[in-house]
Amino acid sequence: MRARVMDRVWLPAALILSGALAVWVLRASLDDYLLSIFNFVGINIILAVSLNLTNGFTGLFSLGHPGFMAVGGYLTAILTFPAGRKAMLLPALPAWLAAQQWPLLPALLAGGLAASLTALVVGFPVLRLRGHYLAVATMGFLIIVQVLIINLESYTRGPLGLNGLPMLTNLWWVYLWVVAVIYVCWKIKHSSLGRTMLAVREDEMAAQCLGVNLARIRILALTLGAFFAGVAGGLWAHLVTAITPTSFSLIMAFNLVVMVVIGGSGSITGAILAASGLTLLTEVLRPLEENLEMYGINEVIMAVGLLAVLIFRPQGFFGSREPSLLSGRGRIRSNGRSGARE
């Protein structure tokens, strides 16, 4: 009994506090450039862990994550933009929207909810597809979102994008959401809902026979993942202080999938480590890219890395597992397959 209280309360509390301490130390010691790198690490953790909920736990292979980010990002940006300057930047905005000027947190929540709502609308028809057809349809969704953003100029300024956003994102906000997404996903994974999701992933028919409502679980996984994607989009927009239609591209979808696959579909720890590692690697390679004019080297390395993992370790580094120290003596024992064989 004692050991379990230890696991359930003190270990998470200790982790969260040491994370907060790390944030404090980082903010006190690093310059803006290095801090922004850690902000990106955090945002990518939010994205990878939430995508893992959809792709990893439930096995819904979605490439639409950046599409949800874009929805959240644009809405958050419009909501937080100073009302005075909004009239100049977006003169065609409806009056009620132009008058709004929200603080970051409610705007992020609104962005997340809008992304969830989009997921709900898109999910109902599209989630009837399976496997790689779902992947292709979500990719189509992503491209449609981009086209809409380019064309809805009165809300988005089209290809120009929105720039000069207030820089509201800082490492505390990012950390708050990192903790939130990890907490939610961890709770889900170690609950009956999480097991239901894994069951849907491993064998749809068996899950259905046991009374699982497949459509409900799928929609839930997609909308929950989309919520965090929307929030991450908002954080991203207020970190970079500019968003354009090309900010949220298929390359980004690919990079996120790489994180989930390399970390191990279904493993939260894996997604966190892969997101951190790959983001830092990208930042290390960026000067190389710019100074040696080797543009594209980063993507080449990512692609080769992914191919190597797919060939030599298809279940990713962690499979579906978490380190036994964290997961309460490894209660979830999955065979680590990364999706039902069709």
């Binding site: 292979f61 028809p125 599209v126 009837r128 597809l129 399976r130 496997g131 790689h132 057809y133 992947a135 292709v136 349809a137 990719m139 189509g140 969704f141 491209i143 449609i144 981009q146 086209v147 809409l148 380019i150 064309n151 390359i251 690919f254 999938v257 790489v258 696959v261 080797m294 543009y295 594209g296 080297i297 980063n298 993507e299 080449v300 990512m302 692609a303 080769v304 992914l306 191919l307 797919l310 060939i311 298809p314 397959r337 990364s338 999706g339 039902a340 064989r341 069709e342």
Partner: protein
Amino acid sequence: MSAYVLEQVFNGLILGSMYALVAIGFSMIYGIVRLINFAHGDIVMVGAFVTLALIAVPGLPFPLIALLVMAAGLILGVLIERAAFRPMRGAPQVTGFIASLAVSILMQNLGVLILTAQPRNFMLPEYLQTIFHLGPLTVRAIDLAILIASVVLMAVLVLMVKRTRLGIAMRATAENIDAARLMGININRVIMFAFAIGSSLAGMAGLMWGGKFGQIDPLLGFVPGLKAFVAAVIGGVGSIPGAMLGGYLLGLAEVLFVGLLPPIYSAYRDAFVFGTLILILLILPNGLLGRSVEERA
């Protein structure tokens, strides 16, 4: 029909020919290994650049260039299959799909790394640029060449698939890979040939793409690749006649969508194409000519 509409239809057929050539490869590969190969579009890009390089060689006749480009596509396709897809055969379908995205991104960025992202002008020999009049139509020789060459290539392909031993083995493998193996068909060889044929057609489409649009860059293959995939889905993935039909339909639909509707809609061109894709997947998952026992929706 006014000359304008006729011209649009003609352009639609040219675009459709290129989509069809690429879509055939998608369909053949999918039909046999159940792999959506997103790297297929980038073979179009490589085909375009190989053409550019060969045109720079003095004294090389254009038909020979075309053959060499097809050979280059063929070799590349076989190499990709060996290096990336064969090691993960038997893995879940999505794994192959992710791998093909990785190969696609690898090829695009190797292209950027080696050739830079700067678009290059694609110079055709003089005689392919001559302009002549066909009734109300004004056409360039290359446009006609594209139309005729693609029809000839497709006819050869259909004959091959229908008549030769290899074609029969391919159809048998597409029908049921295990039964085909039991009948003594060398599956690896069949898969290799599917990649080889599909990729050589894609290489040829690259030559045509450059000739039609006059500018090429390392990222040019991605969008036509995606659209050719849409074409394959429209026709029914796995069906070669379906891919041809889908290619022409999509080419025509896209050009007419832009050409005949008011200009404000033309910016929605890609949304229209991918909206169609999602609709077809949902309503008509087997496409127009496909027949399938597997479950997609």
